[in-house]
């Protein structure tokens, strides 16, 4: 068992989830509270990674953010190395790739908050930040949990972006899904079985946990 890869995968998923929750919460609030044409455009943009092949994303990150473009050179100067073949590169890729998995549940959760409450809070002078803090976050806790778990698992299961951008470097870009791929390629089906079992167990347990949690809450509410 490749413990280093497991640790790296969990670290990548944790960092990605933390960043994405911080980004997605204001974004989701903006989408729920916003009016006008830009809102649809923003929502489309936030959903795009869901339908875009990961290879497109990998290509953009590799070429557009690589050392051959001005943005890429700026990033390289900032980090001291190109984004590709590094943990930070994978974080950037994962944040974009998993964005919809954080935004969608949050938008659904925030939109389900009683509009009367939102209007009342607004009448009492609550600004958007206060609305999110005192209304959306406490009332949409379940959606926030769902967003976190889905983001985490989607990042754990990420493959295409890592394959295009990672360079298979142990301890910095060799994630479990890459290990599994290498094991299959090396005809080591026994090891591949073990790696696959861990990925499966991780995902199944986490999903079962959120569904059990939501059932419990649903039961209490009824």
């Amino acid at each position: 068992m490749d413990w280093q890869a497991l640790a790296l995968t969990l670290r990548l998923a944790t960092v990605t989830t933390a960043i994405l929750l911080a980004v997605a919460m204001p974004l989701a609030a903006l989408l729920v509270l916003g009016r006008g044409r830009w809102r649809a455009a923003l929502e489309a943009l936030a959903t795009l990674p869901l339908v875009l092949p990961p290879t497109v994303l990998g290509f953009f990150l590799l070429v557009l953010l690589g050392p051959r473009t001005a943005i890429g050179r700026a990033i390289t100067a900032l980090l001291g190395h190109p984004l590709a073949f590094s943990f930070s590169g994978l974080v950037v890729g994962s944040v974009i790739y998993s964005l919809p998995f954080a935004v969608q549940p949050l938008v659904a959760g925030f939109a389900a908050v009683e509009p009367g409450l939102v209007d009342a809070a607004r009448l009492l002078g609550a600004g958007p930040v206060r609305l999110v803090r005192t209304l959306f976050v406490p009332l949409a806790r379940r959606s926030i949990l769902a967003a976190a778990v889905l983001t985490f698992l989607h990042t754990v299961g990420e493959f295409g972006v890592v394959l295009m951008l990672g360079g298979d470097i142990p301890g910095s870009t060799r994630t479990l899904s890459i290990v599994l791929y290498n094991q299959v390629e090396a005809f080591d089906y026994a090891a591949a079985n073990r790696t696959a079992a861990i990925l499966l167990a991780l995902s199944a347990t986490a999903l079962a946990a959120i569904y059990a949690g939501s059932q419990l809450r649903g039961g209490r509410r009824a």
Binding site: L62, P67, A84, F85, G167, I169, Y181, N182, E185, F187
Partner: protein
């Protein structure tokens, strides 16, 4: 009268349908052949009327796909070990001696971009500290990657370069890692280095052949093929003097 006028259209539709119904010859090809094979497939179709399509991946990926029933007719690997594995598993057929058929030998080169601000590619470049990222193919799955690691071992540089390696899934991706500028040098196949894009963007240095075991590229016929005759024709075509000369011009060493 009206029917006659439409006859050519019917004929065309019928012909198109018949053409579509005929499955092409499916060639599983090692990634180093990606720049080499397309014109050969076109010439093959021109010469025989047989349409052939190629899929390019690392030899290991193709082997494991074929072992699991992928519908290929011919496998052109980048070494002997992977096609031999298929022969041993009775999934493919080589020459009469139970060995893959040698169709070319591969050459490993060190390639850098002109704008990488590095000295010209040489063994000294590998030895020096200027190199931050060296792209290679996965040594487990790609014969060129295995050759690259063997060469670094022969030079006694593997330990010092290990932390600076970026490993690509196959040799074409290794070329792409360095062509895109994300890695500053790469041990790639000469077939990639000789493509117009890479010729224009960078320089290469042919690694001394004594540094790595020869990359003898072997071909096999897949056992489950329904187009044995066409597949055999394709192998004969590949081994013909004209095509062998063409391989030599695109970075491979002819089989004989």
């Amino acid at each position: 009268m009206r029917t006659i006028r439409f006859l050519p259209i019917f004929a065309a539709i019928f012909f198109a349908a018949a053409l579509a119904a005929q499955t092409p010859l499916r060639v599983a090809a090692a990634a180093d052949l990606q720049p080499v094979l397309p014109p050969i497939l076109a010439q093959f179709q021109h010469a025989t009327g047989i349409r052939a399509e190629a899929t390019y991946k690392s030899s290991a990926v193709l082997t494991s796909q074929i072992l699991n029933g992928a519908p290929f007719d011919v496998f052109l690997a980048a070494d002997f070990s992977f096609p031999q594995r298929l022969i041993d598993a009775r999934a493919a057929q080589g020459a009469s001696a139970g060995q893959p058929i040698l169709y070319a030998k591969g050459t490993l080169v060190l390639w850098t971009r002109n704008d990488a601000h590095l000295p010209a590619p040489s063994l000294d470049l590998l030895r020096g500290p200027a190199l931050h990222r060296l792209a290679i193919a996965n040594p487990q799955s790609a014969p060129y990657g295995r050759a690259a690691v063997a060469a670094l071992h022969s030079l006694g540089l593997y330990a010092s370069l290990q932390s600076r390696l970026a490993t690509a899934e196959n040799i074409a991706q290794a070329a792409q890692f360095v062509y895109s500028g994300n890695a500053d040098a790469g041990l790639i196949s000469m077939t990639s280095a000789l493509t117009p894009q890479l010729r224009q963007a960078g320089r290469y240095f042919i690694l001394p052949r004594s540094l790595y075991p020869p990359l003898r590229q072997g071909a096999v016929l897949i056992q489950a093929t329904h187009q044995r005759e066409a597949a055999q024709k394709f192998l004969n075509f590949l081994l013909s003097p004209a095509i062998q000369a063409q391989l030599a011009a695109s970075g491979l060493t002819p089989a004989h």
